[in-house]
Amino acid sequence: MELLLALTIGVLMASSVYLMLDRNVIRFLFGLILLSNAANLVIFLSGRLTAGAPPLIDEGAYAPTGVVANALPQALVLTAIVIGFGLLAFTLALVYRTYRSLGTVNSDEMRVAEPVSAPKTTPHPDPAAAPGTPPASDPTLDKTDATTTPTGGEARA
């Protein structure tokens, strides 16, 4: 089981790295979620697996009877989960805010601080011209086509 879990961790790590290497910051965010899951599993597995024996002390006893699961990695993982949630929520807010301000989720086009060269091709954050609400003509919630979004298309044109 340990070996299989190690393999699963490998798959999680690879998926998260691939997602974090994307220009789309939403996918970066997905990668971050997977990465924190993978990291938690690494800590948990490093403390070894014990089935069916939670780290609790029976009523009347002074110490656990028999072998119980390792409590230390559990404590570490528990806080890591909550912290990971905080990080995720903050990143989510950041992505949302970036999209509102810059009108893109493509990290290549977020070049306010470091314009590439000619200022014309740089999408400057102009509050008036910023896409307050993206075009409301699209009824489907699962619309994923990037070309209708106020993102890169015209920045390149």
Binding site: L4, A6, S15, N24, P55, Y62, I81, G153
Partner: protein, 776 residues
């Protein structure tokens, strides 16, 4: 220095002026009081600073450091007195005083430090103070360039020196100078000796402006004259010489030491004295003669015999006395007449008799004419040179002879020619300087005479103990004005003769030198500019290469380097150990299913371009991980994971729902390179994980928590006991992080442009949207 600044009405620089005069004066008297004591036995005092790193603020008081301390405070008094009158009405005078005091404290710390690291800190303080003082006339581009040049050259040397100090401290096992210097024999045998030596020499040579690092010093004359007198002739530039002298018992006495120091020192001395003849600005002449003195000192410390060290220590004092006096004198002349050009000045002794007297005293000492102490200095240099064996004797003696002849000529140019003959026309009418400016040069000149007449005082209290400190063992030091007819005296007489002949033809020599220089391709100053340009080009190139501003590149570099570094370490250290012990038995079908779900969820999240699928897939992964926690006895973690997973899905879905056009499709399709990085990263994680599982498990902490949980912390849930009791400080930090993240996200969301359109916002937003529509 020009007087064209708006004057502020201050008498002697006001409060800062008086303070700046009083401080060095009081310190001077304090150090003077220590002289008899230190002449008997050196002392180490100190307090600890960073004891864990062996860094302390110990103070090493011996003949060498005390002589330096007296020069710093003594000349410091003369210079501050002079500056109070010279610059006292300058609007920025208080700033000037602050820099000067900073320098003085740094320099005193440098010579008194008993610990290599604190010595380095003070070394850098003097470098920075020198930068600020050279650039004091910040309006002038030339000043700024000179200041930066001095800072970069000496600062670079300082960093190299620090490397040398760390190596030396590691080899010697201590950063305390006393400990290091007592291990000289071990250090000289050590395989790293040459590396240490070269690193130290790089620091010393840049600070003391040895060829080929000399070019910053003449440029540093852009500083106000008192600064040139104080930092760039009497004290700071001798910091490198001090370091060499200080390290002599530990690093000196080898072939490498002898030849590097004597060669560089000799070349610097002769090159500088020739260059001095070429100059027309008297301040520049003096700057080059300072270089000559630094070269001479380096050469004699390199020579290393008792006589050579003695000659160096003697010349150190002699030079500081006459050179500071001459700098201050030329400042007075400049102040009074408005020029420093040797061709313009003449006949000043009628208008400025006291200045002339000061110049004469200093210049006679410089020329090495009896009965001034300069004569004794020159005699002993000849004796020391002749006392060396073999080729070294010839080299050192010839260099000293050449330099001494040139000094004689320069003394004539600086202090004879401007004062003799008919009074010439100058930009301002020449007039005598005020007493605060005259006190310094006259006092220093008088000291040159007094020490010349009573060399025993100098020998017993200063040169003797200093030589002892540098040479490492006690020997009789006896200085005298008349040593009978011997080789040194004959050389002295030859020096006078050659010098007098050259002085008569010095104008012609100068023209010839200028022509040679114009025809020469070698120009250190221009070379420096090219080095700087190259550095800037390199910086621009590597910034373009590394700082692309592209997040994707950064992430790829981070993950790839992680994989390569960890992977290499893993392979080199034989991380796989005994190979994989596969045991598939005992894996329940439910476990198989959960693991397969997690893996499939992760892969699906990667490949899908539908964001609802992605969110759902992430949810599957999260729930799967929670199931693993349940299966392996972690109820608290599992509950937390489940609850958080619900929250994650709620939040992500919320954002997705409200932003219908947020694309989650990969912006660039399949990327093979990134897939390779990701696969390598994943495989490495698995391999490392397997290796970890093969190591024996250390249960000490776990055992402690299990045993202590109930009796000590009164809790039966060990996980929670760890969280709120044993490791409560961690938990406290974590809840602070959670709250900070929440507040941060809240602040980001509040006031986002276009967030929750209010009725009056509605219209422009639609216009903007329509605008976009047309463009597309």
């Amino acid at each position: 220095m020009a007087d064209d600044y708006p004057k502020v009405d201050r008498v002697m620089g006001g409060a800062s002026g008086w303070f700046s005069i009083a401080l060095p004066a009081v310190l001077f008297l304090y150090f003077l009081g220590l002289v008899p004591q230190i002449a008997e036995a050196p002392q180490v005092r100190g307090i600890e600073w960073v004891p864990s790193l062996g860094i302390g603020l110990s103070v090493l008081l011996d003949g060498l450091s005390l002589t330096f301390a007296l020069l710093i405070t003594g000349i410091g008094t003369a210079v501050t007195l002079y500056s109070a009158r010279y610059l006292g009405q300058h609007p920025d005078y208080p700033r000037f005083v602050a820099y000067l005091m900073m320098f003085m404290v740094g320099m005193l710390g440098l010579v008194l430090a008993g610990n290599l690291i604190s010595l380095f800190v003070f070394w850098e303080v003097t470098t920075i103070a020198s930068y600020l003082l050279i650039g004091f006339n910040a309006d002038s581009a030339k000043s700024r360039r000179s200041a930066l040049q001095a800072l970069l050259v000496t600062g670079t040397g300082g960093l190299i020196l620090l490397a040398g100090m760390i190596v030396l401290g590691t080899v010697a096992g201590s950063f305390e100078l006393v400990d290091i210097l007592s291990q000289g024999d071990m250090l000289r045998e050590h395989p790293w000796y040459l590396a240490i030596l070269l690193l130290f020499l790089a620091g010393a040579f840049t600070k003391s402006a040895q060829v080929p690092f000399h070019f910053w010093l003449p440029n540093a004359m852009a500083a106000p004259t008192p600064v040139s007198a104080y930092l760039h002739s009497a004290t700071m530039v001798k910091g490198g010489v001090y370091l060499l002298a200080r390290m002599n018992p530990g690093l000196g006495g080898t072939e490498a030491w002898f030849w590097i120091l004597t060669l560089f020192g000799g070349v610097t001395a002769v090159f500088a004295s020739v260059m001095a003849l070429r100059q027309t600005d008297i301040k520049q002449v003096l700057a080059y003669t300072t270089l000559m003195a630094l070269g001479t000192l380096t050469m004699f410390i390199g020579a290393g015999t008792h006589y050579a060290i003695m000659a160096a220590m003697l010349f150190l004092v002699v030079h500081s006395l006459y050179k500071a006096a001459l700098f201050l004198m030329i400042g007075i002349v400049d102040h009074a007449t408005g020029t420093r050009e040797t061709g313009v000045l003449g006949g000043l002794s009628k208008a400025m008799p006291l200045t002339g007297l000061a110049a004469a005293l200093a210049a006679v000492s410089m020329a090495g004419i009896p009965p001034m102490v300069g004569f004794i200095g020159k005699e002993f240099m000849y004796k020391a040179g002749l006392g060396l064996g073999g080729f070294g004797a010839i080299w050192v003696t010839v260099m000293i002879f050449a330099a001494s002849v040139m000094m004689f000529v320069v003394a004539g140019i600086v202090a004879w020619k401007p004062f003799r003959g008919e009074l010439r026309e100058t930009p301002h009418a020449a007039h005598e300087g005020p007493w605060p400016m005259l006190a310094g040069p006259l006092g220093l000149g008088a000291l040159s005479l007094i020490f010349g007449l009573f060399p025993g005082v100098l020998a017993h209290y200063f040169v003797g103990p200093a030589t002892h400190a540098v040479f490492g063992e006690v020997r009789e030091v006896h200085l005298y004005l008349w040593g009978g007819i011997n080789m040194a005296l004959i050389l002295s007489l030859l020096t006078f003769l050659a010098g007098w002949l050259m002085y008569r033809r010095h104008e012609a020599i100068r023209h010839r030198l200028i022509r040679i220089e114009q025809g020469s391709r070698v120009n250190f100053d221009a070379g420096w500019d090219r080095v700087l340009d190259g550095l800037k080009a390199l910086a621009a190139w590597q910034t373009r290469l590394i700082q692309t501003g592209n997040l994707q590149t950064y992430m790829a570099v981070i993950f790839a380097s992680f994989t390569v570094l960890v992977g290499t370490t893993f392979l080199l250290r034989g991380g796989m150990g005994s190979g994989i012990n596969y045991e598939a038995d005992g894996v329940h079908p439910i476990q198989w299913t959960v693991l397969a779900l997690i893996a499939m969820g992760a892969i699906l999240a990667t490949i899908t371009s539908s964001r609802m699928t992605a969110v759902a897939a992430l949810g599957v992964v999260g729930i799967g991980v929670a199931l693993i926690f349940i299966m392996f006895s972690a109820p608290d973690v599992a509950i937390t994971q489940l609850l958080v997973e619900v929250l994650v899905v709620v939040l992500v879905a919320l954002v997705m729902l409200r932003l219908p056009h947020l694309p989650v499709r990969s912006a660039s399709g399949f990327r093979a390179g990134h897939a390779a990085i990701a696969a390598a990263f994943g495989i490495l994680s698995t391999l490392v994980m397997i290796a970890v599982l093969q190591t024996p498990f250390d249960r000490r902490l776990t055992d402690f928590f299990e045993i202590a949980s109930w009796p000590e912390a009164h809790g039966r849930n060990i996980v929670n006991v760890i969280l709120v009791d044993f490791r409560a400080t961690d938990t406290f930090g974590e809840i602070v992080v959670v709250v900070m993240a929440a507040v941060g996200a809240y602040a980001l969301l509040r006031g986002a442009p276009g967030a929750k359109p209010t009725p009056e916002d509605e219209e422009p937003v639609q216009v903007a949207a329509a605008d976009k529509g047309e463009k597309v």
